[in-house]
Symmetry: D2
Subunit: 479 residues, 4 copies
């Protein structure tokens, strides 16, 4: 499971080496996308940008940051992409030149009517360099811009046409514009530094990283325009029931972020508490799978009274450069990444908390590791409901036939396959109470009910992926 | 002085690892552009491409070539760019996705009406990622494509709108299309391998590199369509007086290439012979500045009867990674690149042949080296006429105030500045006879008379570079 | 504070791509040294090796591992070095060629008589390429080898001359020899895989990584010879009181390792429990500084009954490539690396557990972060005694004037400087009971009493670093 | 055929960023070794060094040169190595630490008694990191140094023990010492800059590169000591008949260098003239194989009266990164590297000059290229005698069974195999007159007669390569 992006934008009153701030912000958002990243800086309307495949720390060194020069507005992006999309053309920000003004756009989310919009732009003479929805968003804005007096008004008109999930920051020569789709699928917030710099980011942890205080979330449907005239909010498209992706709390967001007023760490403790209430078990120790199962394990321990233990050591040096050893050693590879702290579990009945089960393979291996280390019983508890339906709003899920919750009829069947003594998932109802009060989330991946209608071909394409005829035989890929 | 590009395209009857062929072709064209390069491959309409800043040997290793996979059509490009243009968005081939069919375009040349066309496309909703004319050419083709039945017909209509220099290869899902502007400013030729593969390239040396025999030049104004139906020529726009850039013979092209039937090496020998006829001098040895002055020096020696000598050793390891030492050592740096073979010149009256003088600084240093090595007299002969006017067709020239032939009133004045005992340039008339017969070249940079009218703002921009108002404050640069 | 090395060795019965096993083992030992690493493989006595500055994942890719080829014995090393020592000559394994047989040596520790031995070898005609003790150890072994019948006997005789800390693995053409100094300052253990491969490593977590079961620690003073004849132990130099570095438990070793029978994780929980007993405080939550304060915080919470909380989010993408932003942003840099989970501490009295205080600067910043996040009180507890004396056995400590426990007279004074409401350290007595039973550790850095006499100049050199006269003006450094 | 090294040393009166000078010098010597390079700098006795596999321009960038800091003495080296020797341990300068003073040694040549000396040092307790003779030379010097009052006296005593070819520069804390074996197999010269800096180099072209004037060659057997006391020459071991490698003139040295008073370029012209005298042929054009056949071709043309022509274009971008295309394209690969200038040879009888034939494969391909380009006849002339015997003094030759002059009985047989109409080699007598006067060269590779006796096992090892028993099964290789 992968989130597809993190966005960041900053507006300052005076020119400075602003790229360093974006660099710090992107480091804080790195968990939202590890495939590529980029920064664009505006210095009095002259745009400079740098983007590349790689982690923030790999792509940006002092030299590159210095090349971005001084400026007073900047945007940045971290990206995870699905297959075929590693093309340089797809790396964000998408920076374009236009007589009406240069633009740099960063986008987190997924449109459901991208195909139709794209065909429309192409029939109008437009050409596409990449395959991202981001190019479609910018085409839509630019074509509206030709008929309106300002970029922000063009954004408003474009939002009426765009359907799906989009949390965006857009840089013009003079303004930083943040906008979020009317359902608010993906988070977006803003804040201010003591010096008066305005910062927009996918998560509040990125505000912390640059010393900005969180003011509030950008509302679903809101356009926030930051410029010389101050901060102006356009709420004409607000008012929808919010539909934040519940997985932002359970898995994607960083525990130190606060989304819609709820501290993410707290929602995870609560998930563990709910699990303990819904699915109690008699045991000697509660351990979590690092990193994301730790919080829920602590919550489970607090609620159940069973002692909390540290069950695993996760090797923090294993990164993308780690080469999984040859076939025969594949099983060992798990041990290199995750080693059991034997003393915590040997001879004990263990409650094992993880945030999700996708294929079940990894869970099976972890259960096996615990047993080899001497655990007498292993009771697995998952701090999210079972994942059974595709997501159309920016989460990359495995195909249905690989999802263990689609393949197998019951939690017991899954428990058997992965070798656990028992298994339970968080209930969908409990998921809706994660923030402490009943809340309106998008739970489409659990329930199959989505907040907005999914166009038919789109519906199919998520699992079967046929392209509209016009695009057949045209796939372009590159490094 | 810099040429701005080399193009290459290949069409084969069956699928294979075709990128390797383009790789060989680009190596042969590397002298036409050392800044960036790229290859695009079509495999049954699926396009893959790789492009990056760097030399062919730096950008392409086995892994990258393998990633391009198999295919039956491919195009490649090497590029030199002027300032501000190092952006990844400007590297060619430009590969675009469109419902009417994907396209990959490689271009050598320079449009004179790019600004006007660009404004038109942008007013129509088009967006630009880079600053190259290539994007304008592809926009023009795509917008015509929406109104025509085939890509080749769209190319024809686009050519009516494009003004300036363009030698292009265009890859579609099924065809390789080569086209050249009606003046034929830049070279473009095609050939065939014994196995029947069709190859298009800027110069015939690239055909040699892949084992293809030169068939002929693409004519000025011609469109050549290579596909399943064979090779089809569209000559509707042919018939203009040809205006090949005479500097292709004097400087840009490789001596082993044959352009418009004339072997480049031979034209350079002839330049030397003409020089000897026009500006004889009593001397003991004729030496050429490597690499490009060598051929003319040999011609001068043959015509004059003065012995030919090897005057310099050029360090072949000095490349882009060479770091010019600190200020005080700058003078020494010339010696590291170019060392005099003392024995060839000591105590002698030397005729020194070079292909051009731009600022005069380098020539001055070389004359000084010869004198330090004991040359009694140094008579400089330049195998081209003095360079006094801007080029609008793809050659990057220094600004007028730096050109020594603009700054100083006469050859004698230049001779004095660079410390030579005498100096003479090739006459413009002689330049027109380089191929052996009177020929219609573009000699705008010598005469200031251009084969096609230059739009007014364009005229200024070459030296003073004001941008149309709409583009003010919009410069975008990146790595 | 830095450990200086991790060693690994493996012996298998049949030839295979053994370097991959070492690669896995070094990944598990990476925490013991992040500066450089290396692997040497013996294939029937032909040695191949690769070593370089960088992390295991940076230095070794598939190509390099494949170049190491097949073999049946291999050793590996990860290294942290003090200043001046980044020279390639210092990277281990040190591989040497000698008529009596090639050798590859990996060493963890520090000799106290290296200077005297070195002078002796040099007076005998020996030359040094680097500055490590490892070269001295190998010289000592080789010079004994000329007078003995076997390498293992040469090792025995060398050990009589070597004084200080050394846990070593030595590869010969036919044997893997592990040996540990008679005090056993640094850990070293061995185990076996189900297939019968023998593995030696600094810590048992590296045995886990290659699927080997821990058999036992190599005893202080023991030589273990692994070869065709099986595993032979030479205990002639055993019998000393063991003097393991207590910081191995507190800080260096991985919590999932077991040293001298004690699980490291458990000793850290115990340190927290002891702290709670020795220095109780009335508070609302116990939080640990990640990563190494976490275990002790949990122990403190268990013993005190105060709830355990997750106080911080450590950015796991911050690595060596992270560039600390400009001066003005230095303070912010802490926030990028470590962000407070506000909800866990706001409005609470916090017990903050860390494993050590060196200069106090970092502790001061962390206390400040907690207060900014709304902590009402901050009581700091350190799970080790105060660090006041130099270490001569392989731990790189700051200079005395920088150590806060040397600079300030009392815990209260330190508390004041770092802004904590109270501060307490673990007592030295408690440190001696970390493994559950009274144990004989080296606690020289706390007490100033060392298990073996420290040569006088050595004693000074640790803080004042004068070199023996003969070495004056001879410092050599390189990349 | 490969030369194995180039050495460079510089001594200045005051401290400065001296590494930049060595960088320039090594660029000028790059043709003598392209595998690895290194620089060592002494700043008041503190040595810093950097060395790595790669070309000078790859290994040294500004950052690395700056890291070498200031200094007043420096040495540098470029290296080509034979198989197995790419180990980092073999890269020069070899920098060692010793109580008697640090040393950095650069060596060009090959000892014939290295095995015996090595065994002696090892029996004395010495250890070897690499496989070069350089380590043996430094061991020999260091062991003498323990018994003498100065390094220069130690060098003198060491030279009495060393047998074979060695042109060396040695840096101590206060002196630069250059010494050359009594036969003077490899060149070594010194000069001075106008500012009084003293420079030592393998060839005078490196003096030119740093603005130093050639004073004279270091004499065979001479020790030159450059230091505070000035330049002191020790000629105690001079007086032998000189035995410079004749291939230095024919192939290795740069044409702009002057060796033993003879300009290299001139000796190559002379080789061409001699060839024309010894083996005249009726033809229309003389062409040389670039780069090293060009000079001799010009000499042949001058002597014979047959016009000189430019027959080939050598692709100057083909470097080590060029990937020879797949098997089927191997033949084409020649064309990418070397293209015939058709016009120069079509329909003509061609004299083709090259400097040597080793296996014959390349010569065969070049002849084929000429014929394909329309040459009517191809008469090959080689500007060196046939290569039939091993070299023990620093030239890496192919094994006997691969040498075409060993395989085939006569020039005619070789001509037939390579497809030439005729073939002739320079006579050995002519080779001895290359400098204009009868001169005493080492012509062992032509005649099999060597200036000094070759130890028996050494003799065999050059072709059959058995190692002394003590070294069996001990080969160590690394990156």
């Amino acid at each position: 499971m992968h989130e597809e992006c993190g966005v960041f934008g900053i507006w300052t009153q005076d020119r400075r080496k602003i790229a360093w701030k974006v660099y710090s912000g992107l480091y804080a958002l790195q968990h939202r996308g590890q495939e590529s990243c980029g920064i664009a800086v505006s210095c009095d309307g002259v745009f400079r940008h740098q983007k590349e495949n790689g982690l923030v720390g790999e792509v940006f060194d002092s030299r590159r940051l210095e090349q971005l020069g001084e400026g007073n507005i900047a945007v940045g992006h971290v990206r995870y992409s699905t297959t075929g999309g590693k093309s340089h053309s797809n790396i964000q920000p998408i920076v374009i030149r236009h007589m009406k003004g240069n633009l740099a756009l960063c986008h987190n989310g997924n449109l459901v009517n991208a195909g139709a919009l794209r065909m429309q732009h192409e029939l109008n003479g437009g050409i596409y360099h990449g395959t991202t929805d981001t190019e479609t968003i910018i085409y839509t804005i630019v074509s509206e811009r030709l008929r309106t007096a300002s970029t922000e008004e063009a954004v408003h008109r474009a939002m009426i046409k765009l359907q799906g999930a989009y949390s965006c920051v857009l840089m013009t020569a003079t303004k930083l514009i943040a906008f979020r789709d009317p359902c608010g699928f993906r988070p977006l917030c803003w804040g201010q530094t003591p010096a008066g710099d305005c910062v927009v980011a996918s998560e509040s942890c990125a505000l912390d990283a640059v010393g900005a205080a969180l003011i509030r979330d950008i509302e679903p449907g809101e356009i926030l325009v930051i410029g010389e005239e101050g901060v102006i909010s356009d709420r004409r498209l607000c008012g929808n029931a919010p539909s934040l992706c519940v997985f932002e709390y359970i898995y994607f967001a960083r525990p130190d972020s606060v989304i819609e007023g709820a501290p993410v760490h707290l929602t995870r403790l609560r998930a563990g508490r709910f699990l303990a209430g819904e699915d109690p078990v008699d045991a000697d120790v509660v351990v979590g799978v690092p990193d994301s199962g730790i919080d829920a394990a602590l919550g489970y321990a607090q609620e159940s009274g069973i002692p909390y233990g540290v069950g695993f050591l996760k090797n923090k040096y294993i990164g993308r450069s780690f080469i999984a050893p040859s076939q025969e050693l594949r099983e060992t590879a798990v041990r290199i990444k995750l080693n059991v702290i034997r003393d915590s579990v040997a001879g004990k009945r263990v409650v094992l908390i993880d945030d999700s089960i996708v294929r079940g393979t990894t869970s099976g291996r972890i259960v096996r590791l615990l047993r080899e280390a001497g655990a007498k019983e292993v009771h697995m508890r998952i701090s999210s409901p079972p994942f059974r339906h595709p997501c159309y709003f920016g989460t990359d899920v495995d195909s249905r036939e690989n999802l263990i919750a689609c393949r197998l009829p019951s939690a017991d069947a899954i428990a058997e396959e992965i070798g656990a003594d028992s298994l339970a998932f968080l209930s969908v109802q409990a998921a809706h109470r994660l923030t402490g009060e009943a809340c309106s989330f998008c739970d489409g991946c659990f329930s199959g009910r989505y907040p907005i209608p999914i166009p038919e071909d789109q519906g199919k394409s998520k699992f079967e992926q046929p392209l509209p005829t016009a695009y057949k035989k045209q796939h372009i890929s590159c490094h």
